[in-house]
């Protein structure tokens, strides 16, 4: 375990845990941005600069802000946002523990996971751009279409009631 990895991993996990356990919804989102920033740091550690910056731009710059807006537009009705059924708590813990156990078991039993870090590949943004326009041009177009559809869909969903009221 190297020191930067340990720090970033601890920050990410702490952010994620705080995001899922704090009472105040806005605090949850702020903790979530910490987790996102930690993930971006991990991408940078892994040498994926472009993805790291895209993560900051999209997740911190857009999704966190969007979530905050949604919270401010919808808050104030629920006294306690936690599940209040004890039986559900038990079943949830079992499910989560099982999933985590299976994942850890898979990681540990695989010979792949003991592989050490290979020398960093020479990846430039230029190569990513060429790959996007060459091998992955169809997924890129589909993503473009999806984003447009999502944009229009989100606007229609959010505007619907207002139109009806008029």
């Amino acid at each position: 375990m190297t020191l930067p990895f340990t720090i970033i991993a601890a920050l990410t996990i702490a952010g994620a845990v705080a995001a899922m356990s704090l009472r105040n919804l806005v605090h949850c989102v702020l903790a979530l941005t910490l987790a996102f920033a930690g993930l971006a740091g991990m991408y940078l550690l892994l040498g994926a600069q472009f993805v790291g910056f895209a993560q900051i731009l999209v997740y911190i710059g857009a999704i966190a802000i969007l979530t905050v807006f949604a919270i401010l537009l919808t808050r104030g009705t629920e006294p306690d946002a936690f599940l209040d059924l004890p039986s559900a708590w038990v079943s949830n813990s079992v499910i989560v523990a099982a999933v985590f156990g299976v994942l850890v078991w898979a990681v540990h039993s695989s010979p792949l996971s003991r592989r050490t870090l290979p020398p960093p590949p020479q990846i430039t943004v230029r190569q990513i751009g060429f790959a996007l326009m060459d091998r992955f041009v169809l997924p890129l177009e589909v993503i473009g279409l999806l984003l447009t559809a999502a944009l229009i869909g989100a606007v229609i969903l959010a505007m619907h009631e207002k139109q009806a009221a008029k």
């Binding site: 949604a70 990513i128 989100a154 969903l157 009631e161």
Partner: protein, 102 residues
């Protein structure tokens, strides 16, 4: 530094996201939990790309880029839906949004 470290972090992140999505009753927080799980998957992809045999193929990186794009679309539509539901039910607590229970 082995691949296992990143995979364990991703697994932890996934478990935390799953626990949140299952336990929290606020729709926005459930969405946040799903986002976290998606991010855990992204981390796995990048880690496998970096430790893989041919990182020059860039498959992992591009997959993550597309996944981030999908996540952005998902968040936009999901939050718009939550706001639309909130207008209707005046709550974002998933336990009270049950008119399609049948």
């Amino acid at each position: 530094m082995t691949l296992a470290g990143y995979l364990i972090v991703a697994a932890l992140l996934f478990a935390v996201g799953l626990a949140g999505a299952l336990t929290r009753r606020n729709a926005i927080l459930v969405l946040i939990g799903i986002e976290l799980m998606l991010n855990a998957a992204n981390l796995n992809l990048i880690a496998f790309w970096r430790y893989g045999r041919s990182p020059e193929a860039l498959t992992g990186v591009l997959f993550v880029i597309f996944s981030i794009g999908v996540a952005a679309a998902e968040a936009a539509v999901g939050l718009a839906m939550i706001i639309a539901i909130y207008r209707h039910y005046k709550t974002t607590n998933l336990d009270y949004i049950d008119s399609m229970k049948g």
